[in-house]
Protein backbone atom coordinates (compact mmCIF):
# COMPACT_ATOMS: atom_id res chain seq x y z
CA UNK A 1 0.00 0.00 0.00
CA UNK A 2 2.81 2.37 0.91
CA UNK A 3 4.56 1.73 -2.38
CA UNK A 4 1.39 2.55 -4.27
CA UNK A 5 0.96 5.78 -2.38
CA UNK A 6 4.55 6.71 -3.04
CA UNK A 7 4.11 5.90 -6.72
CA UNK A 8 1.03 8.08 -6.88
CA UNK A 9 2.87 10.96 -5.27
CA UNK A 10 5.93 10.57 -7.47
CA UNK A 11 3.92 10.71 -10.67
CA UNK A 12 1.89 13.65 -9.49
CA UNK A 13 5.08 15.57 -8.80
CA UNK A 14 6.53 14.56 -12.18
CA UNK A 15 3.42 15.71 -14.04
CA UNK A 16 3.32 18.95 -12.13
CA UNK A 17 6.98 19.53 -12.83
CA UNK A 18 6.70 19.00 -16.57
CA UNK A 19 3.65 21.27 -16.73
CA UNK A 20 5.50 23.98 -14.88
CA UNK A 21 8.55 23.64 -17.14
CA UNK A 22 6.46 23.98 -20.30
CA UNK A 23 4.45 26.92 -19.02
CA UNK A 24 7.61 28.67 -17.85
CA UNK A 25 9.32 28.16 -21.20
CA UNK A 26 6.33 29.50 -23.11
CA UNK A 27 5.92 32.49 -20.82
CA UNK A 28 9.63 33.29 -21.06
CA UNK A 29 9.38 33.18 -24.84
CA UNK A 30 6.44 35.57 -24.90
CA UNK A 31 7.93 37.84 -22.23
CA UNK A 32 11.31 38.05 -23.97
CA UNK A 33 9.94 38.95 -27.40
CA UNK A 34 7.60 41.44 -25.74
CA UNK A 35 10.38 43.12 -23.74
CA UNK A 36 12.71 43.27 -26.71
CA UNK A 37 10.09 44.04 -29.33
CA UNK A 38 7.55 46.30 -27.66
CA UNK A 39 9.72 49.46 -27.57
CA UNK A 40 10.16 49.35 -31.37
CA UNK A 41 6.57 48.34 -32.04
CA UNK A 42 5.39 51.78 -33.07
CA UNK A 43 2.48 52.72 -35.29
CA UNK A 44 5.03 53.58 -37.94
CA UNK A 45 6.36 50.05 -37.75
CA UNK A 46 3.06 48.42 -38.68
CA UNK A 47 1.68 51.07 -41.01
CA UNK A 48 4.57 51.80 -43.36
CA UNK A 49 6.73 49.95 -45.81
CA UNK A 50 10.54 50.18 -45.47
CA UNK A 51 11.94 53.52 -46.59
CA UNK A 52 15.47 54.22 -47.80
CA UNK A 53 17.94 53.27 -45.11
CA UNK A 54 15.38 51.24 -43.12
CA UNK A 55 17.79 48.39 -42.80
CA UNK A 56 20.30 50.73 -41.24
CA UNK A 57 17.88 51.76 -38.53
CA UNK A 58 16.19 54.63 -40.36
CA UNK A 59 12.49 55.25 -41.08
CA UNK A 60 9.87 52.83 -42.27
CA UNK A 61 8.05 49.72 -41.11
CA UNK A 62 7.19 46.15 -41.98
CA UNK A 63 3.73 46.61 -43.46
CA UNK A 64 5.00 44.88 -46.61
CA UNK A 65 5.79 41.72 -44.63
CA UNK A 66 2.55 41.83 -42.61
CA UNK A 67 0.40 42.14 -45.74
CA UNK A 68 2.57 39.67 -47.62
CA UNK A 69 2.32 37.05 -44.88
CA UNK A 70 -1.45 37.46 -44.67
CA UNK A 71 -1.82 37.14 -48.46
CA UNK A 72 0.37 34.08 -48.49
CA UNK A 73 -1.25 32.36 -45.52
CA UNK A 74 -4.85 33.13 -46.49
CA UNK A 75 -4.25 32.13 -50.11
CA UNK A 76 -2.59 28.84 -49.29
CA UNK A 77 -5.01 27.93 -46.49
CA UNK A 78 -7.91 28.58 -48.86
CA UNK A 79 -6.37 26.42 -51.58
CA UNK A 80 -5.40 23.67 -49.15
CA UNK A 81 -8.92 23.70 -47.70
CA UNK A 82 -10.75 23.30 -50.99
CA UNK A 83 -8.37 20.53 -51.99
CA UNK A 84 -8.03 18.92 -48.56
CA UNK A 85 -11.67 18.78 -47.45
CA UNK A 86 -12.78 16.53 -50.33
CA UNK A 87 -9.78 14.26 -49.77
CA UNK A 88 -10.59 13.84 -46.08
CA UNK A 89 -14.28 13.25 -46.82
CA UNK A 90 -13.45 10.82 -49.61
CA UNK A 91 -11.27 8.78 -47.27
CA UNK A 92 -14.03 8.53 -44.71
CA UNK A 93 -17.18 8.06 -46.76
CA UNK A 94 -16.41 6.59 -50.18
CA UNK A 95 -13.54 4.50 -48.95
CA UNK A 96 -15.15 3.51 -45.67
CA UNK A 97 -15.00 -0.18 -46.61
CA UNK A 98 -11.45 -0.07 -47.99
CA UNK A 99 -9.51 0.00 -44.74
CA UNK A 100 -6.15 -1.03 -46.19
CA UNK A 101 -6.18 1.57 -48.93
CA UNK A 102 -7.12 4.34 -46.51
CA UNK A 103 -4.39 3.13 -44.17
CA UNK A 104 -1.86 3.51 -46.98
CA UNK A 105 -3.06 7.03 -47.77
CA UNK A 106 -2.77 7.95 -44.09
CA UNK A 107 0.74 6.55 -43.95
CA UNK A 108 1.89 8.67 -46.90
CA UNK A 109 0.17 11.79 -45.58
CA UNK A 110 1.93 11.34 -42.25
CA UNK A 111 5.19 10.93 -44.11
CA UNK A 112 4.55 14.16 -46.00
CA UNK A 113 3.60 15.88 -42.75
CA UNK A 114 7.04 14.99 -41.41
CA UNK A 115 8.98 16.26 -44.41
CA UNK A 116 10.82 19.48 -43.41
CA UNK A 117 9.52 22.64 -45.04
CA UNK A 118 12.89 23.45 -46.61
CA UNK A 119 12.40 20.34 -48.78
CA UNK A 120 9.09 21.74 -50.01
CA UNK A 121 10.90 25.02 -50.65
CA UNK A 122 13.59 23.26 -52.66
CA UNK A 123 10.94 21.32 -54.58
CA UNK A 124 9.02 24.51 -55.36
CA UNK A 125 12.25 26.15 -56.45
CA UNK A 126 13.09 23.26 -58.79
CA UNK A 127 9.64 23.49 -60.37
CA UNK A 128 10.02 27.24 -60.79
CA UNK A 129 13.35 26.84 -62.53
CA UNK A 130 11.88 24.19 -64.80
CA UNK A 131 9.11 26.54 -65.92
CA UNK A 132 11.38 29.57 -65.92
CA UNK A 133 9.42 31.40 -63.24
CA UNK A 134 10.73 34.07 -60.92
CA UNK A 135 10.07 34.24 -57.21
CA UNK A 136 6.47 35.32 -56.76
CA UNK A 137 3.50 35.31 -54.43
CA UNK A 138 1.86 32.61 -56.54
CA UNK A 139 4.88 30.30 -56.35
CA UNK A 140 4.91 30.82 -52.59
CA UNK A 141 1.22 30.08 -52.25
CA UNK A 142 1.53 26.89 -54.28
CA UNK A 143 4.53 25.69 -52.30
CA UNK A 144 2.99 26.46 -48.93
CA UNK A 145 -0.26 24.82 -50.06
CA UNK A 146 1.61 21.62 -50.85
CA UNK A 147 3.31 21.89 -47.49
CA UNK A 148 0.11 22.29 -45.45
CA UNK A 149 -2.20 19.91 -47.34
CA UNK A 150 -1.01 16.85 -45.38
CA UNK A 151 -1.61 18.74 -42.13
CA UNK A 152 -5.05 19.90 -43.23
CA UNK A 153 -6.13 16.49 -44.51
CA UNK A 154 -4.87 14.47 -41.57
CA UNK A 155 -6.29 16.90 -39.00
CA UNK A 156 -9.73 16.72 -40.66
CA UNK A 157 -9.38 12.99 -41.23
CA UNK A 158 -8.88 12.46 -37.50
CA UNK A 159 -12.23 14.12 -36.72
CA UNK A 160 -14.14 12.50 -39.60
CA UNK A 161 -12.84 9.14 -38.43
CA UNK A 162 -14.62 9.67 -35.13
CA UNK A 163 -18.03 10.09 -36.76
CA UNK A 164 -19.86 7.02 -35.50
CA UNK A 165 -20.81 4.34 -38.00
CA UNK A 166 -24.41 4.57 -36.75
CA UNK A 167 -24.71 8.18 -37.89
CA UNK A 168 -23.52 7.27 -41.37
CA UNK A 169 -25.93 4.34 -41.46
CA UNK A 170 -28.76 6.63 -40.35
CA UNK A 171 -27.97 9.02 -43.15
CA UNK A 172 -27.65 6.28 -45.77
CA UNK A 173 -30.85 4.61 -44.68
CA UNK A 174 -32.71 7.87 -45.31
CA UNK A 175 -31.60 7.53 -48.91
CA UNK A 176 -28.67 9.95 -48.87
CA UNK A 177 -25.95 9.42 -51.39
CA UNK A 178 -22.36 9.29 -50.25
CA UNK A 179 -21.74 12.91 -51.17
CA UNK A 180 -24.86 14.08 -49.33
CA UNK A 181 -23.73 12.12 -46.30
CA UNK A 182 -20.27 13.71 -46.56
CA UNK A 183 -21.18 17.33 -47.07
CA UNK A 184 -24.47 17.56 -45.18
CA UNK A 185 -23.91 15.22 -42.25
CA UNK A 186 -20.19 14.67 -41.66
CA UNK A 187 -19.18 18.28 -42.22
CA UNK A 188 -21.88 19.55 -39.87
CA UNK A 189 -20.99 17.07 -37.20
CA UNK A 190 -17.31 18.01 -37.46
CA UNK A 191 -17.32 21.82 -37.81
CA UNK A 192 -15.28 22.43 -34.64
CA UNK A 193 -12.68 19.91 -35.80
CA UNK A 194 -12.57 21.41 -39.29
CA UNK A 195 -11.96 24.86 -37.81
CA UNK A 196 -9.13 23.45 -35.71
CA UNK A 197 -7.60 21.89 -38.83
CA UNK A 198 -7.77 25.20 -40.68
CA UNK A 199 -6.22 27.04 -37.74
CA UNK A 200 -3.41 24.52 -37.43
CA UNK A 201 -2.62 24.89 -41.12
CA UNK A 202 -2.82 28.66 -40.92
CA UNK A 203 -0.31 28.72 -38.08
CA UNK A 204 2.11 26.57 -40.06
CA UNK A 205 1.59 28.59 -43.24
CA UNK A 206 2.16 32.01 -41.72
CA UNK A 207 5.04 30.97 -39.50
CA UNK A 208 7.21 29.07 -41.94
CA UNK A 209 10.36 30.69 -43.32
CA UNK A 210 12.11 27.87 -45.15
CA UNK A 211 9.44 27.09 -47.72
CA UNK A 212 9.08 30.72 -48.81
CA UNK A 213 12.79 31.60 -48.83
CA UNK A 214 13.35 30.56 -52.45
CA UNK A 215 9.80 30.75 -53.72
CA UNK A 216 8.28 34.06 -52.65
CA UNK A 217 11.53 35.97 -52.30
CA UNK A 218 11.52 39.30 -50.53
CA UNK A 219 10.70 42.87 -51.47
CA UNK A 220 10.14 46.21 -49.81
CA UNK A 221 6.83 46.75 -51.57
CA UNK A 222 3.34 45.45 -51.08
CA UNK A 223 2.59 43.10 -53.99
CA UNK A 224 -0.14 44.15 -56.39
CA UNK A 225 -0.27 40.91 -58.36
CA UNK A 226 0.37 37.21 -57.86
CA UNK A 227 3.39 37.39 -60.11
CA UNK A 228 5.37 39.73 -57.86
CA UNK A 229 7.81 38.71 -55.16
CA UNK A 230 6.43 39.17 -51.66
CA UNK A 231 7.85 39.83 -48.24
CA UNK A 232 6.86 37.62 -45.31
CA UNK A 233 7.14 38.08 -41.56
CA UNK A 234 9.37 35.07 -40.82
CA UNK A 235 11.89 36.30 -43.39
CA UNK A 236 11.57 39.86 -42.06
CA UNK A 237 12.57 38.49 -38.66
CA UNK A 238 15.38 36.45 -40.17
CA UNK A 239 16.94 39.29 -42.15
CA UNK A 240 16.70 41.91 -39.41
CA UNK A 241 17.95 39.62 -36.68
CA UNK A 242 21.10 39.07 -38.72
CA UNK A 243 21.91 42.77 -38.72
CA UNK A 244 24.74 44.11 -36.53
CA UNK A 245 22.76 47.33 -35.88
CA UNK A 246 20.91 47.20 -32.52
CA UNK A 247 17.84 49.20 -33.72
CA UNK A 248 17.31 46.76 -36.58
CA UNK A 249 17.68 43.80 -34.25
CA UNK A 250 15.01 45.22 -31.99
CA UNK A 251 12.72 45.54 -34.97
CA UNK A 252 13.15 41.82 -35.60
CA UNK A 253 11.64 41.21 -32.18
CA UNK A 254 8.85 43.65 -32.96
CA UNK A 255 8.12 41.66 -36.12
CA UNK A 256 8.09 38.44 -34.06
CA UNK A 257 5.63 40.07 -31.70
CA UNK A 258 3.38 41.04 -34.63
CA UNK A 259 3.48 37.47 -35.93
CA UNK A 260 2.57 36.11 -32.49
CA UNK A 261 -0.31 38.57 -32.15
CA UNK A 262 -1.69 37.62 -35.57
CA UNK A 263 -1.68 33.93 -34.60
CA UNK A 264 -3.27 34.76 -31.24
CA UNK A 265 -6.07 36.75 -32.87
CA UNK A 266 -6.74 34.02 -35.44
CA UNK A 267 -6.88 31.35 -32.76
CA UNK A 268 -9.26 33.39 -30.60
CA UNK A 269 -11.51 34.01 -33.61
CA UNK A 270 -11.57 30.35 -34.51
CA UNK A 271 -12.39 29.36 -30.95
CA UNK A 272 -15.27 31.81 -31.01
CA UNK A 273 -16.61 30.40 -34.29
CA UNK A 274 -16.21 26.77 -33.36
CA UNK A 275 -18.15 27.41 -30.16
CA UNK A 276 -20.83 29.17 -32.12
CA UNK A 277 -21.28 26.31 -34.59
CA UNK A 278 -20.93 23.24 -32.43
CA UNK A 279 -24.38 23.41 -30.85
CA UNK A 280 -25.74 20.89 -33.35
CA UNK A 281 -22.94 18.43 -32.78
CA UNK A 282 -24.24 15.14 -31.42
CA UNK A 283 -22.17 13.79 -28.55
CA UNK A 284 -21.99 10.04 -28.63
Amino acid sequence: MRIKKFEEKLFRVLMLLSTVIIITALSLLIVSITIKGLPSLTWEMISQIPKGGYYFGKEGGILNAIIGSLYLALGSVFLAFIIGLPIALFMNSYLVNKKKFVGTIRFFLDLLWGVPSIVYGAFGFAIMIYFGLRTSLLAGIVTVTLFIIPIMVRAMDEVFKEVPRGLLEASFSLGSTKSETSFKIMVRQCIPGIITAVLLSFGRAIGDAASVLFTTGYTDYIPTSLAQPTATLPLAIFFQLGSPIPEVKERAYAAALVLTIIILVISLLSRFFSRKYDKHKINF
Binding site: V96, N97, K98, K99, K100, P164, R165, G166, L167, L168, E169, A170, S171, F172, S173, L174, G175, S176, T177, E180, K184, I185, R188, Q189, K279, H280, K281, I282, N283, F284
Partner: protein, 253 residues
Amino acid sequence: MVHKTKVKIENLNISIGKNHILKNINATIPEKAITVIIGPSGCGKTTLLKSLNRLIDLNPDVKTSGRIMIDNEDILNTHRDITEIRRKMGLLAQRPYPLPMSIYNNIAYGLRISGRKKKKYLNGRVEHYLQQANLWDEVKDRLNEPAARLSIGQQQRLCLARGLAVDPEIILADEPTSALDPLSSQVIEEQFIALKKRYSIVLVTHILRQARRIADHVIFMYLGEVVEQGPAKEIFENPQMEKTQQYFKGAFY
Protein backbone atom coordinates in the same frame (compact mmCIF):
# COMPACT_ATOMS: atom_id res chain seq x y z
CA MET B 1 -55.11 -13.52 -40.59
CA VAL B 2 -53.17 -14.28 -43.73
CA HIS B 3 -50.49 -11.86 -44.73
CA LYS B 4 -48.99 -11.33 -48.13
CA THR B 5 -45.25 -11.85 -48.33
CA LYS B 6 -43.27 -8.61 -48.38
CA VAL B 7 -39.71 -9.87 -48.32
CA LYS B 8 -38.45 -13.25 -49.36
CA ILE B 9 -34.87 -14.20 -48.52
CA GLU B 10 -33.47 -17.08 -50.55
CA ASN B 11 -30.20 -18.92 -49.87
CA LEU B 12 -28.55 -15.84 -48.43
CA ASN B 13 -24.92 -16.25 -47.45
CA ILE B 14 -22.85 -13.42 -46.06
CA SER B 15 -19.27 -13.50 -44.94
CA ILE B 16 -17.18 -10.63 -43.68
CA GLY B 17 -13.48 -11.32 -44.00
CA LYS B 18 -13.05 -14.95 -42.93
CA ASN B 19 -16.20 -15.07 -40.82
CA HIS B 20 -19.13 -16.83 -42.40
CA ILE B 21 -21.86 -14.87 -40.62
CA LEU B 22 -25.08 -15.85 -42.35
CA LYS B 23 -25.39 -19.43 -43.54
CA ASN B 24 -27.91 -20.26 -46.20
CA ILE B 25 -30.74 -18.16 -44.86
CA ASN B 26 -34.23 -18.76 -46.18
CA ALA B 27 -36.96 -16.66 -44.64
CA THR B 28 -40.12 -14.77 -45.43
CA ILE B 29 -41.29 -11.51 -43.95
CA PRO B 30 -45.03 -10.84 -44.16
CA GLU B 31 -46.54 -7.54 -45.20
CA LYS B 32 -48.10 -5.17 -42.64
CA ALA B 33 -47.14 -7.21 -39.61
CA ILE B 34 -44.39 -7.23 -37.01
CA THR B 35 -41.72 -9.81 -37.73
CA VAL B 36 -39.40 -10.36 -34.82
CA ILE B 37 -35.96 -11.85 -35.30
CA ILE B 38 -34.81 -13.42 -32.04
CA GLY B 39 -31.77 -15.35 -31.02
CA PRO B 40 -28.73 -15.19 -28.75
CA SER B 41 -26.21 -12.40 -29.29
CA GLY B 42 -23.77 -12.89 -32.10
CA CYS B 43 -26.12 -15.11 -34.10
CA GLY B 44 -26.32 -12.76 -37.08
CA LYS B 45 -29.62 -11.01 -36.38
CA THR B 46 -28.27 -7.54 -36.99
CA THR B 47 -26.34 -8.64 -40.07
CA LEU B 48 -29.53 -10.09 -41.53
CA LEU B 49 -31.40 -6.87 -40.79
CA LYS B 50 -28.71 -4.69 -42.30
CA SER B 51 -28.47 -6.79 -45.41
CA LEU B 52 -32.12 -5.91 -46.12
CA ASN B 53 -31.22 -2.30 -46.90
CA ARG B 54 -27.66 -3.14 -47.90
CA LEU B 55 -25.98 -1.21 -45.13
CA ILE B 56 -23.84 -4.30 -44.92
CA ASP B 57 -22.04 -2.95 -48.01
CA LEU B 58 -20.27 -0.47 -45.74
CA ASN B 59 -18.19 -3.21 -44.15
CA PRO B 60 -14.83 -4.12 -45.60
CA ASP B 61 -14.46 -7.49 -47.33
CA VAL B 62 -18.12 -8.46 -47.52
CA LYS B 63 -19.11 -11.38 -49.71
CA THR B 64 -22.77 -11.89 -50.39
CA SER B 65 -24.62 -14.54 -52.34
CA GLY B 66 -28.26 -15.49 -52.66
CA ARG B 67 -31.30 -13.36 -53.23
CA ILE B 68 -33.39 -10.91 -51.24
CA MET B 69 -36.69 -10.36 -53.01
CA ILE B 70 -38.66 -7.30 -52.00
CA ASP B 71 -41.94 -7.04 -53.90
CA ASN B 72 -40.53 -9.56 -56.37
CA GLU B 73 -37.41 -7.55 -57.05
CA ASP B 74 -34.00 -8.90 -56.13
CA ILE B 75 -32.27 -6.04 -54.30
CA LEU B 76 -28.90 -7.78 -54.15
CA ASN B 77 -28.56 -8.09 -57.91
CA THR B 78 -30.11 -4.99 -59.36
CA HIS B 79 -29.10 -2.08 -61.46
CA ARG B 80 -31.44 0.18 -59.53
CA ASP B 81 -29.88 2.95 -57.51
CA ILE B 82 -29.10 1.80 -53.98
CA THR B 83 -30.44 5.01 -52.44
CA GLU B 84 -33.84 4.25 -53.97
CA ILE B 85 -33.88 0.82 -52.34
CA ARG B 86 -32.85 2.26 -49.00
CA ARG B 87 -35.57 4.87 -49.14
CA LYS B 88 -38.11 2.03 -49.06
CA MET B 89 -36.93 1.21 -45.56
CA GLY B 90 -36.70 3.23 -42.38
CA LEU B 91 -34.01 2.23 -39.91
CA LEU B 92 -34.11 2.45 -36.15
CA ALA B 93 -30.76 1.61 -34.60
CA GLN B 94 -29.74 0.23 -31.20
CA ARG B 95 -29.32 3.74 -29.94
CA PRO B 96 -30.64 6.93 -31.47
CA TYR B 97 -28.43 8.70 -33.98
CA PRO B 98 -30.10 12.04 -34.59
CA LEU B 99 -28.57 14.07 -37.41
CA PRO B 100 -26.40 17.02 -36.30
CA MET B 101 -29.08 19.63 -36.97
CA SER B 102 -32.30 21.00 -35.51
CA ILE B 103 -35.33 18.89 -34.61
CA TYR B 104 -37.21 20.31 -37.57
CA ASN B 105 -34.40 19.65 -40.02
CA ASN B 106 -33.98 16.10 -38.79
CA ILE B 107 -37.41 15.33 -40.21
CA ALA B 108 -37.13 17.62 -43.22
CA TYR B 109 -33.71 16.28 -44.26
CA GLY B 110 -35.01 13.12 -45.90
CA LEU B 111 -37.72 15.05 -47.72
CA ARG B 112 -35.30 17.70 -48.94
CA ILE B 113 -32.79 15.24 -50.37
CA SER B 114 -35.57 13.60 -52.34
CA GLY B 115 -36.42 16.95 -53.87
CA ARG B 116 -39.35 18.17 -51.79
CA LYS B 117 -38.29 21.58 -50.60
CA LYS B 118 -41.37 23.81 -50.33
CA LYS B 119 -41.51 25.34 -46.87
CA LYS B 120 -45.27 25.02 -46.47
CA TYR B 121 -45.27 21.37 -47.48
CA LEU B 122 -42.36 20.62 -45.17
CA ASN B 123 -44.05 22.31 -42.19
CA GLY B 124 -47.09 20.09 -42.63
CA ARG B 125 -45.06 16.92 -43.04
CA VAL B 126 -42.84 17.62 -40.05
CA GLU B 127 -45.88 18.05 -37.81
CA HIS B 128 -47.56 14.96 -39.25
CA TYR B 129 -44.63 12.62 -38.68
CA LEU B 130 -43.75 14.00 -35.26
CA GLN B 131 -47.34 13.29 -34.28
CA GLN B 132 -47.12 9.77 -35.69
CA ALA B 133 -44.10 9.14 -33.51
CA ASN B 134 -45.92 10.62 -30.53
CA LEU B 135 -43.38 13.40 -30.10
CA TRP B 136 -45.14 16.51 -31.41
CA ASP B 137 -46.61 17.74 -28.12
CA GLU B 138 -43.20 17.62 -26.45
CA VAL B 139 -41.26 19.49 -29.12
CA LYS B 140 -43.71 21.75 -30.95
CA ASP B 141 -42.40 24.88 -29.22
CA ARG B 142 -38.74 24.17 -29.83
CA LEU B 143 -38.48 22.79 -33.34
CA ASN B 144 -35.40 24.88 -34.06
CA GLU B 145 -33.42 23.60 -31.12
CA PRO B 146 -30.63 21.11 -31.77
CA ALA B 147 -31.82 17.51 -31.72
CA ALA B 148 -28.90 16.78 -29.41
CA ARG B 149 -30.76 18.49 -26.54
CA LEU B 150 -33.60 15.95 -26.52
CA SER B 151 -33.60 13.09 -24.04
CA ILE B 152 -32.50 9.74 -25.38
CA GLY B 153 -36.06 8.40 -25.47
CA GLN B 154 -37.22 11.48 -27.37
CA GLN B 155 -34.27 11.13 -29.73
CA GLN B 156 -35.30 7.58 -30.57
CA ARG B 157 -38.84 8.72 -31.36
CA LEU B 158 -37.34 11.52 -33.46
CA CYS B 159 -35.40 8.89 -35.38
CA LEU B 160 -38.61 6.94 -35.88
CA ALA B 161 -40.37 10.06 -37.20
CA ARG B 162 -37.40 10.83 -39.43
CA GLY B 163 -37.52 7.31 -40.84
CA LEU B 164 -41.26 7.51 -41.49
CA ALA B 165 -40.88 10.85 -43.24
CA VAL B 166 -39.23 9.34 -46.30
CA ASP B 167 -42.39 7.27 -46.71
CA PRO B 168 -40.93 3.77 -46.44
CA GLU B 169 -42.82 0.49 -46.79
CA ILE B 170 -40.67 -1.39 -44.33
CA ILE B 171 -39.36 -0.36 -40.91
CA LEU B 172 -36.14 -2.04 -39.80
CA ALA B 173 -35.51 -1.86 -36.07
CA ASP B 174 -32.33 -3.16 -34.50
CA GLU B 175 -32.95 -3.59 -30.77
CA PRO B 176 -34.49 -0.12 -30.77
CA THR B 177 -35.26 -0.09 -27.08
CA SER B 178 -31.97 -1.42 -25.73
CA ALA B 179 -30.69 2.04 -24.74
CA LEU B 180 -34.03 3.30 -23.44
CA ASP B 181 -35.73 3.40 -20.07
CA PRO B 182 -38.78 1.15 -19.58
CA LEU B 183 -41.27 3.96 -20.17
CA SER B 184 -39.71 5.10 -23.46
CA SER B 185 -39.46 1.47 -24.53
CA GLN B 186 -43.15 1.02 -23.94
CA VAL B 187 -43.92 4.12 -26.03
CA ILE B 188 -41.85 2.72 -28.91
CA GLU B 189 -43.57 -0.68 -28.68
CA GLU B 190 -46.97 0.99 -28.73
CA GLN B 191 -45.93 2.97 -31.79
CA PHE B 192 -44.94 -0.21 -33.56
CA ILE B 193 -48.30 -1.82 -32.88
CA ALA B 194 -50.03 1.30 -34.21
CA LEU B 195 -47.75 1.46 -37.24
CA LYS B 196 -48.12 -2.11 -38.41
CA LYS B 197 -51.41 -1.25 -40.08
CA ARG B 198 -49.40 0.61 -42.69
CA TYR B 199 -45.88 -0.73 -42.59
CA SER B 200 -44.11 -4.05 -42.58
CA ILE B 201 -41.95 -4.01 -39.48
CA VAL B 202 -38.85 -6.11 -38.91
CA LEU B 203 -37.61 -6.00 -35.34
CA VAL B 204 -34.44 -7.51 -33.98
CA THR B 205 -34.48 -8.11 -30.26
CA HIS B 206 -32.91 -10.27 -27.63
CA ILE B 207 -35.66 -9.51 -25.13
CA LEU B 208 -37.94 -12.52 -25.27
CA ARG B 209 -40.75 -10.79 -23.41
CA GLN B 210 -40.73 -7.97 -25.92
CA ALA B 211 -41.00 -10.50 -28.72
CA ARG B 212 -43.96 -12.20 -27.04
CA ARG B 213 -45.70 -8.86 -26.56
CA ILE B 214 -45.60 -7.58 -30.10
CA ALA B 215 -44.60 -10.29 -32.59
CA ASP B 216 -46.92 -11.53 -35.33
CA HIS B 217 -44.25 -13.58 -37.02
CA VAL B 218 -41.06 -14.95 -35.52
CA ILE B 219 -37.71 -15.92 -36.98
CA PHE B 220 -35.42 -17.71 -34.53
CA MET B 221 -31.74 -17.69 -35.39
CA TYR B 222 -28.82 -19.54 -33.91
CA LEU B 223 -25.15 -19.35 -34.99
CA GLY B 224 -25.91 -17.75 -38.32
CA GLU B 225 -28.71 -20.08 -39.31
CA VAL B 226 -32.47 -19.84 -39.21
CA VAL B 227 -33.61 -22.59 -36.86
CA GLU B 228 -37.32 -22.03 -36.96
CA GLN B 229 -39.81 -19.50 -38.26
CA GLY B 230 -43.54 -19.03 -38.46
CA PRO B 231 -46.51 -17.23 -36.93
CA ALA B 232 -45.75 -16.03 -33.41
CA LYS B 233 -48.48 -18.05 -31.79
CA GLU B 234 -47.25 -21.35 -33.17
CA ILE B 235 -43.62 -20.69 -32.40
CA PHE B 236 -44.14 -19.51 -28.84
CA GLU B 237 -46.74 -22.09 -27.87
CA ASN B 238 -45.45 -25.07 -29.70
CA PRO B 239 -41.83 -24.78 -30.85
CA GLN B 240 -40.76 -27.73 -32.96
CA MET B 241 -37.01 -27.60 -32.74
CA GLU B 242 -35.04 -28.51 -29.67
CA LYS B 243 -32.84 -25.39 -29.84
CA THR B 244 -35.88 -23.14 -29.85
CA GLN B 245 -37.37 -24.92 -26.85
CA GLN B 246 -34.11 -24.58 -24.95
CA TYR B 247 -33.85 -20.89 -25.80
CA PHE B 248 -37.37 -20.18 -24.60
CA LYS B 249 -36.62 -21.99 -21.36
CA GLY B 250 -33.63 -19.74 -20.85
CA ALA B 251 -31.00 -22.43 -21.32
CA PHE B 252 -28.79 -19.90 -23.17
CA TYR B 253 -28.87 -16.26 -24.14
